[in-house]
Symmetry: C2
Subunit: 439 residues, 2 copies
């Protein structure tokens, strides 16, 4: 039973003690009491991104005391304009357990693809409306008005998008700061760079900052969660945790308060590229400056020198970030910094992110997180390969590797890594008092 008439957003409902179907569903998934979850949503520490128009959504909560969620970026672009390939990536991402998909389409007729997503896809859908502005109007950036940008946000809200990234934390002051601070990478946020470019060309203030209240009205009406974008997220280790990044975070904290005053749900977007030793401190700073609003991180990538392997640099940073308080990981694929990811890159990116999220959930002590690892250990001790595959994050790949290189004399109980030298086999025999043949 929905009570859409009696509340605006999930935050509004939680603050008024109204139990929404979405909150009930999330509480069930997370093994948390409805009362506790309601309090977290009321305080802004958990968001339930659920646009009222996205009716096929299977809702999820995002917050540091819940399971860590992952997001997959997809979308039509000039260099990959095949809708079918993008839908194939979408369905495979959903199958592999992504909880969110951001449609970053930047080419062609973007609306039907976005509408198809919110009509058919059970996971949270996010967008970055500023990307779509240039495309939607088919006018060059400098010719767009503040109202044009806001109207695109409204269109995305009407289309059922659950969360939108808005780069409202940079202002005209940021232009000077970037000029004088001599960052190595200046601004690497794609949306942030468009806002920066527009401000530079027009001489006007950031429309997402100036008209923030209008954005809040739209978000409140449809229950769109605001994902406050970090235009100044560090694009290399040298820029990490610098004054540009932290000053923007301060501003995002101020905007969070304004959003919460309108019952609008908020996530904060975060780094980026960052040396490992700075990650925990960054999570703490975000928690205090943004009063516990969920932290949505891209990476962090813990070194700059691994193009082709940034799903690994991102998994290292993401795992540490999530262990220390981040609640939402944006996947990074092996193609990052190099090219558009293909279907295989998307898969590799998802698996790496899921490893990071799961490892962090175990480290954080999320109830039940380690159960599947315990079942895997039991299966390994028993040398029960079917049971091992059943616990594997990617059973097909595991099966394929083992079966492509079986032991020569095909002891079905061992693998070709050790053959009769298998430690598990030896110990099982020793504990059973059996003779142990190795040769």
């Amino acid at each position: 039973m929905k009570h859409t008439s009696t509340y605006t957003t999930q935050m509004d409902a939680a603050r008024r003690g109204i139990l929404t179907p979405e909150l009930q569903a999330v509480a069930l998934k997370e093994h948390i009491s409805e009362q506790h979850l309601m309090q977290l949503v009321a305080e802004g520490k958990v968001v339930i991104c659920a646009n009222k128009k996205h009716t096929c959504l299977s809702p999820e909560g995002i917050g540091s005391m819940l399971r860590t969620k992952i997001n997959v970026n997809l979308g039509i672009s000039r260099d990959c304009k095949d809708y079918n390939i993008e839908m194939q990536k979408v369905m495979s991402a959903v199958r592999m357990g992504a909880e969110a998909i951001m449609d970053l389409s930047s080419h062609g007729n973007t609306r039907p693809f976005r509408q198809k997503l919110t009509a058919e896809c059970p996971v949270m859908i996010g967008t970055v409306p500023v990307y779509d502005s240039v495309i939607h109007y088919q006018r060059d950036l400098a010719t767009l008005t503040a109202k044009d940008f806001i109207d695109v946000i409204r269109m995305h809200a009407e289309d059922g998008v659950d969360f939108v990234t808005v780069h409202c934390g940079i202002t005209r002051k940021t232009i000077e700061q970037i000029r004088t601070h001599n960052r190595k990478m200046n601004i690497v946020s794609r949306g942030g760079s468009l806002v920066f470019a527009w401000m530079s060309m027009t001489g006007e203030e950031n429309p997402f900052y100036e008209y923030f209240d209008e954005i809040l009205d739209i978000c409140e009406e449809y229950d769109v969660t605001l994902s406050l974008g970090d235009a100044c997220r560090p694009g290399c280790l040298a820029d990490a945790t610098d004054v540009c990044q932290i000053e923007e975070l301060v501003r995002l904290g101020e905007l969070t308060k304004r959003a919460w005053a309108h019952n609008v749900q908020v996530m904060i977007e975060g780094p980026g590229h960052m040396p490992m030793n700075q990650i925990a401190a960054n999570m703490e700073i975000q928690k205090t400056l943004c009063m516990g609003a969920p932290f949505y991180v891209l990476g962090p990538l813990v070194t700059d020198i691994a193009p082709g392997y940034d799903h690994i640099t991102g998994a290292i940073g993401g795992a540490i970030a999530a262990m220390n308080g981040a609640s939402f990981l944006c996947y990074v694929t092996p193609a990052e910094h190099l090219a558009l990811p293909n279907v295989e890159d998307v898969k590799q990116g998802i698996i790496a992110s899921k490893i990071a999220a799961h490892a962090a959930d175990i480290a954080k002590g999320i109830p039940g997180a380690k159960d599947i690892d315990d079942r895997m250990a039991d299966a390994r001790r028993a040398l029960d390969w079917d049971a091992q595959f059943a616990c594997a994050l990617d059973p097909e790949t595991a099966k394929q590797i083992r079966n492509s290189r079986r032991p020569e004399d095909d002891h079905s109980d061992t693998c070709s890594m050790c053959g009769k030298f298998c430690a598990v086999r030896s110990i099982n025999k020793a504990l059973a008092g059996e003779y142990i043949d190795i040769l």
Copy 2:
């Protein structure tokens, strides 16, 4: 100029203030003063694994204040007995920057391959002599004597092996402990399981523990570094940091003292499978119990459920371990738990380990570690692709990904990820006061 007549081991030389050519070479590589390095070697906090017979060695130091080193496991086995394929893996590992290779051969005529390695290979060579015992004598495990095992260590020392793993930390008491403690995975160390199996079948004490002094004599004579194996390293998250693991570590600390009294260099081997939140504590415990002896870790793998992707679970754990004090990472390949790694698996394992080691070195503040990341950032800001590839850990893969999917209108300055939406391009134009065309 070598002073082989005037000292036994590198530790002996350092303690007597003798500057060895190996110590000089390492000091130069690590940008550390000879005096400081000599003190660390004298105290056992750095080892220079350099068998006097391994004359083609380019020496490296291992210790937490030096660059993190990585090891690659290879070797002839029943299921991969092609010496040429193994040598191909060796040469590719050396090219990719592995600092050590462990020859874990467990089939056929192992000696010529081992001798070829120490005759031709400039990196540290390690072995696990207990594997070779069964193979060398071609007799079943239960028929071997304590003397047989020790004789194989001597043979490896004579062959020029720089470090040997010896599982001397388990005793007959461990058999009872494993029986009663109900670990999920009991013993997963291959060498440890052989020792355990031999003790179970013969009723005798662990020969590597009982005849530890004879092993020290051999190590002192050839300057073989002892790598004290952790038979009880956790094989799943559930067994991590349990009494079996920690009690063995206590014993390894005692044996470290005995080795140091003979001027024998020592490393300690460590976990294994471990939840992320336990890693830092484990590094601290090892430092105190083993008085700063270098920690050589396998993983740790931060979840059990990712067969096919354990190079990633190992990179996450290894990076955190090295940041917190581990100094030597054993690579883990995607084939771990499933099959013998093939050439591609070896490559993936090496890259993942190098990412972990490098990220940790940056986090630890190893002087100069971040320089190449800074050069990469400069190349990215300039959209200078050749300079980017020159800084990449794996330039060929990076090049291949970019070139396989170039932007349609082939702006040579961007990539197909963003095309004209490229943030770097927009900001460069904005800062130059240029018009920014996006469409």
